[in-house]
């Protein structure tokens, strides 16, 4: 018997869990350790933000919130590797990627605080808002990539989904379109091992999630999603290849959801505390900090000062969010149509009249 086709999925890691180098030659951008300080600071800020957001929900000042605890390297790595003109189509917890692209924490809070204005954010105006129906954003990214290709623009579309998201029709449809049209499309699967209560092992019989892209003719790689250097490296290579017309990619970043699925979830019902404790040994901040300290560009004083700065900035964002008055009742009618029909305007007037009473 001969072989009709064969494939392999490379795995990328530069930083071990304890911050030592894995031995793989560092990519050029990471050879200057100073260049890793900004992303480290953003990862730390994201974690401070996340802790505060959970606390706000617990005290009734925020609605249900999806924590990003433990995903900081995967999220910030994606955001830092993208260009402003690229399009990001995310699910609903990739705040680190959004912050890297200019979205303000107060806007994320506004969204989870029950206000559509949170999605009219100050990041790139072409970036998609949060996408709750799982993996549908993957096809929107494919459509965006098709628009860029048809218009001859050197732009890429990047979609992020989770391990559970790779089970959806839309994920397969997106990677199939990516290959069929040779689109500048990058699909980043943030594999945090859990889709609410269902573990990665129950989602698919595939050995890796990255290899699903092989079926569509895409480049596929699995990386340590807790290693900022590996994530940034894989994403920027994939974007460059896509920009050059060399095809799309699926990147699986292996990480762990250290939090509950959302504040409405209690993960103790379905997963072992020992597994979570073990995952904390591999979390993304410690290893990058050890690397930066070892390279002499970070120290305890800087860490302490930065954490204080994070707390100050997050408080400022929270105060800005809390100061936003609720939208007027007519907001639910506004922006439904560019040109609202008369019967809708009548209902709008009816709702407004009730407010005055």
């Amino acid at each position: 018997m001969s072989v009709a086709a064969s494939f392999e999925i490379p795995f990328l890691r530069y930083l071990e869990a304890d911050g030592r180098l894995s031995g793989a030659a560092l990519p050029a951008f990471a050879r200057d350790a100073q260049a890793l300080v900004e992303p480290y600071k953003l990862m730390t800020l994201t974690r401070s933000f996340d802790a505060k957001a959970v606390a706000l929900q617990r005290t009734g000042k925020l609605g249900t919130y999806a924590s990003c605890l433990g995903h900081e390297a995967s999220h910030v790595g994606v955001g830092m590797a993208m260009r402003p003109e690229d399009v990001l189509a995310l699910s609903y917890r990739e705040y680190g990627a959004q912050f890297a692209r200019g979205v303000q924490p107060r806007e994320v809070l506004l969204y989870w605080g029950g206000d559509e204005r949170g999605s009219d954010f100050s990041g790139p105006p072409h970036d998609f808002p949060f996408c709750v129906p799982i993996s549908t954003q993957c096809l929107h990214a494919a459509g965006a990539a098709l628009a860029f290709k048809l218009r001859g623009e050197a732009r890429c579309a990047l979609a992020m989904c989770g391990d559970g998201g790779t089970s959806k029709t839309d994920f397969y449809a997106a990677l199939n379109s990516g290959g069929a049209f040779n689109l500048p499309l990058v699909l980043v699967v943030v594999n945090n091992q859990w889709a609410i209560s269902v573990p990665r092992s129950a989602q698919t019989g595939a050995e890796t999630l990255a290899q699903k892209g092989i079926a569509g003719g895409l480049h596929c790689v699995q990386v340590d999603g807790n290693d900022y250097i590996a994530v940034y490296d894989a994403v920027s290579q994939a974007l460059q290849r896509a920009r050059d017309g060399q095809g799309g990619s699926v990147i699986e970043t292996i990480t762990y959801r250290l939090s509950d699925h959302t504040t409405a979830d209690d993960a103790r019902r379905y997963r072992d505390e020992a597994e979570v404790k073990d995952a904390w040994q591999r979390e993304p901040l410690i290893r990058l900090r050890h690397h930066l300290v070892g390279e002499g560009v970070w120290d305890e004083d800087k860490e302490k000062a930065w954490l204080e700065e994070c707390a100050r900035r997050v408080d400022e964002e929270v105060n800005a969010y809390l100061a936003v008055p609720p939208p007027p009742v007519q907001a639910m009618f506004d922006h439904l149509y560019a040109d609202p029909p008369p019967d809708l305007l009548a209902q709008r007037a009816e709702a407004m009249a009730r407010e005055v009473r």
């Binding site: 105006p125 929107h140 839309d170």
Partner: protein, 326 residues
């Protein structure tokens, strides 16, 4: 000016917009070199190229999802659902995204896509090729839902749909695709997407319909005229947003109304019109508002399908029952 059938008017409108707006593109299954299974896109790929008229992989979810992404990034995709029964995998993208994007982002992003859907029964087609499923779209805020019933309106309304800044579901009554030809000027003149059309004036009874049933409804008006009854016939044309004023004014004049539609009765759009008449026109009515519709069943395979569809006899029966009230 050429005399064209409804389907040729569709092709003409697509060609006009492809010619005049570089952001317009056509996509779907077999819409390219094959020209679509009904020939709606015949010749377009050859004329405008395969980067304007795009054959997609065979997946309705893909067509809808790509269209949302394209529209959100400045293109004007005109997607084709090959048949009405194939739209269901598209609903997630149409309802959760296309219809909501403007609202969700407070106008930062918009989704000006058109989904063309060859619609309805009566062509002896296989299963899932004959569905009258417009009502489920009329219940979705953020969409426009339209259905032309003549070549002239098909041309003008499709131009308007493509130029509209919001998503439009464009139903094409396939039973009357080639029913007759009329003169349609290829002048780029769009028709409004928020008006009903009074096709025939009369003072005794209002007959309201849309899509392919306009044919039988007009025939009913002819038959009634021979009995000395003047029927006013209204083509709803745009179901959402509904131009209720035109219907109300007609019923204020006639005092009687029969609504004719192919879709199932329960939860059908006729119910919305009847409810509005109950709210606004009760004291104008001389008789109950009646509905002549498809039965509350699946449309049967073609040996029985013409017994499912409202026909001339059923429309006349309802009209006469209404006219019997003094």
């Amino acid at each position: 000016m050429a005399a064209v059938a409804l389907i040729e008017a569709i092709t003409m409108a697509l060609a006009h917009e492809l010619e005049h707006d570089p952001s317009v593109l056509v996509l779907g299954e077999d819409v390219g070199i094959n020209g679509g299974v009904f020939r709606a896109t015949a010749g377009l790929a050859q004329r405008f190229g395969d980067d304007r008229v795009i054959d997609t992989p065979l997946d309705e979810t893909t067509i809808a999802g790509l269209s949302v992404g394209l529209a959100a990034q400045g293109m004007r995709p005109v997607a084709e659902s090959q048949f009405d029964g194939f739209v269901y995998p598209m609903l997630d993208h149409l309802i959760c995204h296309a219809a909501r994007l403007r609202t969700r982002t407070r106008g930062r992003m918009t989704c000006p896509l058109v989904l063309r859907v060859p619609w309805g029964g009566g062509i002896r087609a296989p299963e899932h090729h004959s569905e009258a499923n417009e009502t489920m779209f009329t219940n979705v805020p953020g969409l426009r839902v339209v259905m032309p019933s003549s070549p002239h309106r098909a041309y003008g309304m499709l131009l308007a749909a493509i130029r509209d800044p919001d998503p439009v579901i464009f139903f094409e009554p396939k039973r009357i695709y080639r029913q007759y030809k009329e003169e349609v000027a290829d002048d780029g003149e769009a028709l409004p997407l928020d008006v009903c059309y009074v096709l025939r004036e009369g003072r005794d009874i209002t007959l309201v319909s849309w899509g392919a049933q306009i044919k039988e409804t007009l025939e009913a008006a002819d038959a009634l005229a021979k009995e000395g009854v003047e029927a006013e016939v209204i083509d709803v044309a745009t179901l959402r947003p509904l131009d209720f004023d035109t219907i109300r004014e007609s019923v204020a004049k006639t005092g009687r109304c029969v609504i004719v539609h192919e879709a199932v009765r329960s939860g059908g759009f006729g119910g919305e019109i009847a409810a509005r008449l109950a709210e606004h026109s009760m004291f104008d009515l001389k008789a109950p508002v009646l509905r002549v519709t498809g039965y509350d069943t699946h449309i049967p395979l073609f040996r029985l399908e013409m017994k499912f569809l409202p026909d001339l006899a059923r429309i006349l029966d309802a009209a006469r029952r209404t006219l019997a009230y003094d």
